[in-house]
């Protein structure tokens, strides 16, 4: 029972991790809370479902979700962020919120407000390992997450694009003086974060075997909590915080009743913000500068 809950929690946590990374890429580099990510995630799910409905293979669905959401993220960046870059943090946050409103409305009009169900059982085979039963779908979600995170780690740590991202995150002005095109990096951060959110959308759609236009807000807010708990200046904090929150949530549902879980998650987030504002994995000193 306990082990089973751990596996279920890990699957949910994997999706949280991806969205938290998505928030954290934009937040860590630009200091902006891009609220449209919640809906990019939802849109990614619908794009993926469209591909699955067309009887195409699953990796293609995830790819479609990623590319689609990344392209939508470009629109958000060009209209909602770039012109408002020098405004107080509230302004770009609200313009991205404007985009969320639009995306949710458009999705409702196109796909309807009833949940879109996966018609045939995709990956319903279950494997039993001792006391634990794990479905092929759960393995897919976990595997895809690990691969995406590894890919992101490679891009951020080993490529010139990643170096530019980290340079701008460290100090935008100095990076520009050294010849990094900050505008391009900004756009890239939005696209990468959009792609991650899109992939997460497809995965959660598979996880629930259904998707609605309203899935973004609830999971998006939870992902913001995961990002904070992990620490925003080190994007890898989400790798610890995602599974942690996923497991904590599944455990509270199993042993404490489903209603308490939000209380636990957000309470934990506030405690972290107050006692360890740099997040679980954040370093000390310099990291605190921005937020306190």
């Amino acid at each position: 029972m306990l082990l089973q809950q751990l596996v279920n929690g890990l699957t949910l946590g994997a999706v949280y991790t991806l969205i938290a990374l998505s928030f954290s890429l934009v937040m860590g580099i630009l200091g902006v809370l891009n609220l449209a990510i919640a809906e990019l995630f939802m849109l990614g799910g619908f794009f993926g479902f469209a591909v699955i409905a067309a009887q195409l293979p699953l990796p293609l669905a995830i790819l479609a979700g990623m590319v689609g959401a990344a392209l939508v993220a470009v629109i958000v960046e060009k209209i909602g962020y770039q012109p408002l870059r020098d405004a107080p943090v509230v302004t770009p946050m609200l313009s991205t919120l404007g985009f969320s409103i639009i995306f949710q409305n458009v999705a409702t009009n196109i796909w309807g407000s009833d949940p879109l169900q996966l018609t045939d059982e995709v990956l319903a085979t279950r494997f039993t390992l001792g006391p634990v039963s794990i479905s092929a779908m759960q393995i897919t979600v976990l595997g895809a997450t690990v691969m995406l995170v590894a890919l992101l780690a490679f891009v951020v740590q080993r490529t010139s694009i990643g170096r530019a991202l980290r340079a701008v995150a460290e100090n935008r002005d100095v990076a520009r003086l050294l010849g990094v095109s900050a505008d391009r990096v900004t756009l890239l951060a939005f696209m990468l974060s959009g792609a991650l959110a899109g992939a997460a959308g497809v995965l959660i759609g598979l996880h629930y075997a259904a998707i609605t236009p309203y899935i973004g807000v609830e999971i998006g807010l939870k992902a913001i909590a995961v990002m904070v708990i992990g620490g925003t200046t080190r994007i890898w904090g989400a790798l610890v915080a995602g599974p942690l929150i996923g497991i904590a949530e599944v455990m509270t549902v199993a042993y404490g009743g489903s209603q308490v879980r939000d209380f636990v998650v957000y309470g934990f987030m506030i405690v972290i913000l107050l006692l360890r504002p740099q997040g679980i994995l954040g370093g000390s000193g310099a990291d605190q500068g921005q937020r306190v």
Partner: protein, 278 residues
């Protein structure tokens, strides 16, 4: 005699105005709160409990709830001192979700099933409160306290160096904002005569902030303009049927791009008030 339809809209404007003012007061000290729906929820549930279960008259119940919420605001305001900018916004967001989640589990007041039994109040009563608080805020804007709040907003360290007490000012603003949000909640509960935790979620907090930012975040009456806009605009966009929310989003983004300080700012306000623009 106004029609029931317009009376309902007016009531919504009044309730939203109070919520927007609660955000405005806190924002004046440079703190962005995304959790004011939490305070609103506390106010709504407390006044409903007082009027329905205890049998207290509505006005007294509202004052008591405002006081209680003000105390909660103080409790929230102190830890909030440690956080700035977007992190404070995220923490208050968490607070709001915690309050919603608390009422979802609070079976004494109906839990997820909601709570009812309140007596309906008139639009006039709602607006008496809304106008009263608005006038209070406008008067506050002309006082020395407001200058101190602006000083803390502009530069906390400098404000502290000239002998102001940023802690008192910031926590005080939180407390006052929380009290105003509670009144908004109490009026909401007695206007709709039914409340459920979902009424006081993230979207509600965002509505408050939107009303302030759209209307103009530098002058109190901006919240009034923003509240009218936020309630009436979706109504006027009704001809767009299913697409009106998208149209609203487009207008919101356009507005932020063209006039990010909001419709009403200091110079426009002065011009409208037939005073020399400074």
């Amino acid at each position: 005699m106004i029609s029931v339809y317009y009376a309902g809209l007016l009531a919504d404007v009044g309730i939203l105005l109070l919520g927007a003012l609660s955000v405005y007061i806190i924002l004046a000290t440079g703190q962005l709160s995304l959790g004011n729906a939490g305070f609103m929820g506390i106010g709504a549930y407390l006044t409903s409990y007082l009027t329905v279960v205890v049998g207290v008259p509505i006005t007294l119940a509202l004052i008591l709830a405002a006081a209680a919420s003000g105390i909660v605001g103080t409790v929230v305001g102190f830890p909030a001192l440690r956080l700035k900018g977007i992190y404070l916004a995220i923490a208050t967001l968490g607070f709001g979700e915690m309050v919603r989640s608390f009422f979802l589990n609070f079976d004494t007041m109906g839990g997820s099933g909601g709570f009812h039994g309140m007596k309906h109040i008139s639009v006039g009563y709602i607006w008496a409160w809304a106008a009263g608080i608005l006038i209070l805020v406008v008067l506050l804007e002309r006082s020395r306290v407001w200058l101190e709040m602006r000083a803390v907003h502009d530069d906390e360290t400098a404000a502290g160096l000239v002998g102001l007490n940023p802690t008192t000012i910031k926590v005080g603003a939180f407390s006052f904002g929380a009290a105003v949000a509670a009144i908004s909640g109490g009026l909401f509960a007695h206007h709709h005569v039914y409340i459920e935790p979902g009424n006081f979620g993230f979207e509600r907090s965002i509505d408050f902030v939107l009303a302030v930012i759209l209307g103009g975040s530098t002058v109190g009456p901006g919240a009034l303009v923003g509240s009218f806009l936020l309630v009436l605009l979706p109504e006027y966009l009704r001809f767009l049927a299913d697409w009106r929310l998208a149209a609203f989003g487009v207008l919101l983004i356009g507005m932020l791009l063209v006039r990010r300080q909001g419709i009403l700012d200091r110079s426009l306000f002065n011009a409208l008030a037939f005073r020399r623009a400074s």
